[in-house]
């Protein structure tokens, strides 16, 4: 007798591992037996592309680039909180009383982080931009899951971006200079190189008319040749997708994905939206128009060598300040929403964003 509802659990478990997160949820609601099987999930889900997130009060919207669908998820836990970034399905949230939490979007698990010094933190809470664009020396606190408090790294330039790669921070300054900061006794800072030569001084640029009215006009992608300490401009990122937003920049080789997905695409969220009038007192990040959010890299050519997976990628957010497109897009990867690597992922998340 053909009875798909009661296929052996072992067999169904084999199937689950090929699912994306949304497929997995839909699978679990087909019938009672499948629900039980899904609940006892033994394998992690398929590798999937990150989702883009857009904040609308406590109901963020998510864009799944694979299904090209937008989901709206109500998260009551986000009420009266500001979201400062995201990674691997976790959001970093800041309460009105400045408590910092990691919040898992799907399991709703929360991890309280050590509190941060009030003044260092206040700037950020009041106005992210102020901190981000400030010309004054900045502090870059970070935290590891094993640490009790934040470690503050002093930097005498202002930051464009930070990534954690190969046991060190890679920090991009406003003059497009890249530093490697090794975490140790003295947090040694090593100058790596300049990504590109600036053509114009950002603040004298006539296109630069203050905050909140910046447009992304172009992307330039550079790859760091670690042996030569040189940056090579790439004309295409064939075989890869790039995710930019209010998170660490992620480059994902499309070849490791089980699905056939479009490659040579940069996904980013646009900070502008006419319909957005939901600025919260504590600055819910404004939200972007998801449907305009992907474009092929400029000058894409075929047959160019791809970027190896484990190379650090530095992404030039353009020659125009703000072409980073607003601090609002968070890459969210849900495949490990309750995985064992949770702690590790959290620490990465924090260290990458607390700048």
């Amino acid at each position: 007798m053909t009875d798909y509802a009661h296929l052996p659990s072992d067999m169904l478990q084999e199937i689950i591992k090929y699912f994306s997160f949304s497929d997995y949820i839909r699978f679990s609601t087909v019938c009672s037996h499948w629900y039980d099987v899904a609940k006892e999930r033994r394998h992690s889900l398929r590798k999937q592309l990150p989702w883009l997130i857009f904040f609308y009060a406590d109901s963020p919207k998510f864009f799944d680039p694979l299904e090209e669908k937008v989901y709206q998820i109500e998260i009551p836990e986000l009420r009266k909180r500001h979201c400062a970034g995201s990674s691997h399905g976790w959001l970093i949230t800041i309460d009105l009383d400045l408590t910092i939490n990691l919040l898992n979007l799907f399991s709703k698990a929360q991890i309280k982080l050590p509190s941060l010094a009030y003044d260092a933190y206040d700037v950020r809470a009041k106005d992210y931009y102020e901190c981000f664009w400030s010309k004054s020396p900045e502090e870059k606190p970070f935290w590891r899951s094993s640490d009790l408090t934040w470690t503050v790294i002093n930097i005498d330039f202002f930051l464009q971006d930070v990534i954690w790669y190969d046991g060190a921070f890679y920090v991009v300054g406003s003059e497009s200079q890249l530093y490697r900061i090794e975490i140790g006794m003295d947090n040694k800072r090593i100058y790596v190189g300049k990504i590109y030569e600036s053509e114009s001084d950002a603040e004298n640029d006539p296109d630069w008319n203050g905050l909140g009215s910046l447009n992304t006009v172009n992307f330039m992608v550079f790859k760091l040749d670690q042996e030569e300490n040189k940056f090579i401009e790439l004309q295409s990122i064939n075989g890869h997708c790039l995710f930019l937003g209010f998170n660490h920049a992620m480059v994902i080789p499309t070849t490791v994905m089980e699905d056939k997905i479009k490659d040579n695409i940069i996904y980013f969220t646009d900070g502008h939206s006419d319909e957005d009038d939901l600025h919260h007192l504590y600055g819910y990040n404004d939200s972007g128009d998801v449907f305009g959010a992907c474009l092929p890299t400029v000058g894409a050519k075929t047959g160019r060598p791809g970027i190896p997976l484990n190379q650090p990628m530095t992404v030039d957010r353009g020659r125009y300040p703000g072409s980073k497109a607003g601090p609002d897009g968070c890459g969210v990867c849900c495949s490990d929403f309750d995985g064992p690597a949770m702690k590790e992922r959290c620490s990465q998340f924090v260290t990458w964003r607390m700048q």
């Binding site: 053909t2 067999m11 090929y18 994306s20 839909r26 087909v30 019938c31 937008v70 989901y71 109500e74």
Partner: protein
């Protein structure tokens, strides 16, 4: 006196007879039958002289499975195999009764490669489908309990309402 075993005899000795649940007999090479972990265990303990009954698998399914095992015991190039596997699955998934039985048999006979292949194919058939579409296609009754349904809707309701 030592018996001299001819090459022909050697080949012959490597053959094994499998009998399906509806008494259909299949004579295959031992290395083909070995693809099934379960049959391999039986052969290891009971030898290959007498026919091995495969009681839970019907003739048409066993035939198809042995066809798969035979192809996969030849050590052909990967591209050739991938193409063959795809055609094999394309054919199988057209008949949902056959596909179901093939899935059960591969699982029961413990042919891991085939289980994997079927799992990918089956997952592909379920992907991006609503639960209702899945139920209709595979003739499944919605027997979720009230608690289960409630839990799903409160936790994952968003997954069913893309905007």
């Amino acid at each position: 006196m030592a018996t001299i075993i001819t090459k022909e005899q050697q080949e012959k000795e490597k053959m094994v007879t499998l009998v399906s649940s509806d008494s259909e007999k299949f004579v295959v090479e031992q290395k083909v039958a070995e693809k099934s972990h379960v049959i391999k265990m039986v052969m290891n303990c009971c030898g290959i002289e007498s026919p091995i009954p495969v009681r839970r698998v019907k003739g048409d399914i066993l035939k198809s499975i042995l066809e798969y095992c035979e192809k996969h015991s030849k050590g052909e190039a990967q591209e050739v195999m991938e193409k063959w596997d795809k055609e094999y699955m394309d054919k199988a998934e057209k008949d949902l009764v056959f596909f179901h039985d093939l899935m059960l048999a591969s699982h029961f006979l413990h042919i891991q490669e085939l289980v994997d292949l079927i799992a990918v194919t089956f997952a592909g058939m379920l992907k991006m489908k609503s639960p209702e579409e899945i139920r209709q296609k595979f003739n499944i009754n919605n027997d979720l309990t009230k608690e289960q349904e409630e839990h799903i809707m409160t936790t994952f309701g968003w997954a069913f309402q893309p905007i």
